[in-house]
Symmetry: C2
Subunit: 243 residues, 2 copies
DNA sequence: CCAATAGTGTCTGTGAGACATTATGTT
DNA sequence: AACATAATGTCTCACAGACACTATTGG
């Protein structure tokens, strides 16, 4: 083994760089938003892109994703949820050299506006349904992130990661409607959410006042201990995606 | 941009190598099997591991996965299905240097025994529920691949990727039972499979003879054009995995 | 004949979705 | 008073799962 290590020379392999890119999502003003940055350095300086960058020598991949997100956007709050999305390694996806990118998907509650950090000229939350062209293959990465997020709301209680510590059933429904882009039936949604074991648990509290246009005070809930929703909360049927 | 490329020096970054590892699954003798190889070179020479290796300069990631699978196992048949699984980049997961591995999940019908190829001392199909320790973090990668496969059979028609061009409903049921490790109700499964639009389509043919222990000739089907099963074919409830 | 298998029929319980209703708040 | 919203009730249809049953083959 020692002799092998001595004879092994990494420089014999073509150099490859590894980056992480983050699809950070939130719900603002009833629309799904993604965090994008304006690149301050080449390549693609001036273009919008997902936050991300090269991994550091002694850092795990998920750590790098959290670090890059904080560095480029000035957000000091860790996202409520982060998971690996996919990897992209087409030989010419980066003009500098061979770059393999590991993408991460993050969910955050509605946070303050970000500020541009290292290597970024600007950082903003932008609605996902009205995006500028993105650098590299980030448009495709984002699309896969959004689709993964939509699917995950069906099977997992992760919608609560977009909400604050406590929330009403109506707020939770607005999150689902915003992420899926579909109106849901308020009454059926209400009954369904409360019937899935471990999805939410009551706090005993209610909102301070009724809604802006009236109505009774809503009960407040927090996230329950379920990791999977059973039965699942399925999107209205999407016949077109089946074939 | 040109000036940037001139000033950029990849050697300034710590060297990272990128590998692909493949979790290739098949169903043999009513049990789920995975393709593993006995490593012929250090590190972990003599240990069992997933087939895989370093990517080449002008090769996309999925291409590398298919190539490594063929090279190390002598199988010339492309798997019926291959998809990206996840990436692993813990700093010390490989003793040689920083190695980031992209894992792929492949489904194949029951193929001939593999033969050891480059860098491999042996290559075999091995039942997944009775495995030797695997090199690196391959045990974890395999576990995630098996779980992904089990989940995918619920929502997609990929079980047909384990079967031949044509198959009977009973053969399809045996695939589900083998992958999930659960007996299924033959009658209900039969009705369910035929009722999901696009899952299978009849060929008009039947088997040449009845089963080895009797029974009528079964109708033959081939894979249909659905990409998703709707409604899904859910596993018997797994309460323990919900919390 | 017996046993195993292919395929279908029937019943029940659960849950999704449409719709209605009551209560409680704001403007 | 008018209206929006929270929360619950009711009905119907689809479907999963249990069970029964017939038909067809091999041993």
């Amino acid at each position: 083994m020692e002799e092998f290590l001595a004879s092994y020379n990494p420089r014999l392999y073509a150099p490859v760089a590894v980056t992480v890119d983050v699809v950070a999502l939130t719900v603002r003003d009833r629309r799904l938003h993604v965090l994008i940055v304006e690149r301050g350095v080449e390549p693609y300086a001036g273009s919008w892109a997902l936050p991300g960058g090269f991994i550091k020598p002694d850092e795990d991949l998920a750590e790098a994703a959290v670090r890059e997100l904080a560095e480029e956007t000035g957000l000091d709050t860790r996202p409520a949820h982060i998971e690996q999305l996919a990897s992209y390694g087409a030989p010419a996806r980066d003009p500098r050299m061979r770059v393999v990118s590991i993408s991460y998907l993050a969910f955050a509650p509605d946070l303050p506006d970000p500020r541009a950090g290292s290597d970024a000229a600007a950082a903003v939350w932008h609605p996902v349904d009205d995006l500028p062209p993105l650098a590299f293959d980030h448009g495709r990465i984002l699309a896969e992130g959004v689709e993964r997020a939509r699917a995950k709301l069906e099977y997992t209680p992760l919608a609560t990661a977009f909400a604050g510590d406590t929330f009403t059933v109506s707020e939770l429904r607005l999150i689902y409607e915003s992420v899926w882009g579909t109106p849901l039936h308020a009454g059926n949604f209400h009954r369904k959410v409360l019937s899935v074991p471990g999805f939410v648990e009551g706090t005993g509290e209610t909102t301070e006042s009724g809604g802006v246009r009236g109505g009774p005070r809503a009960k407040l809930y927090r996230a329950g201990d379920a990791r999977l929703l059973h039965p699942a909360l399925l999107r209205p049927s999407r016949e077109e995606e089946i074939r």
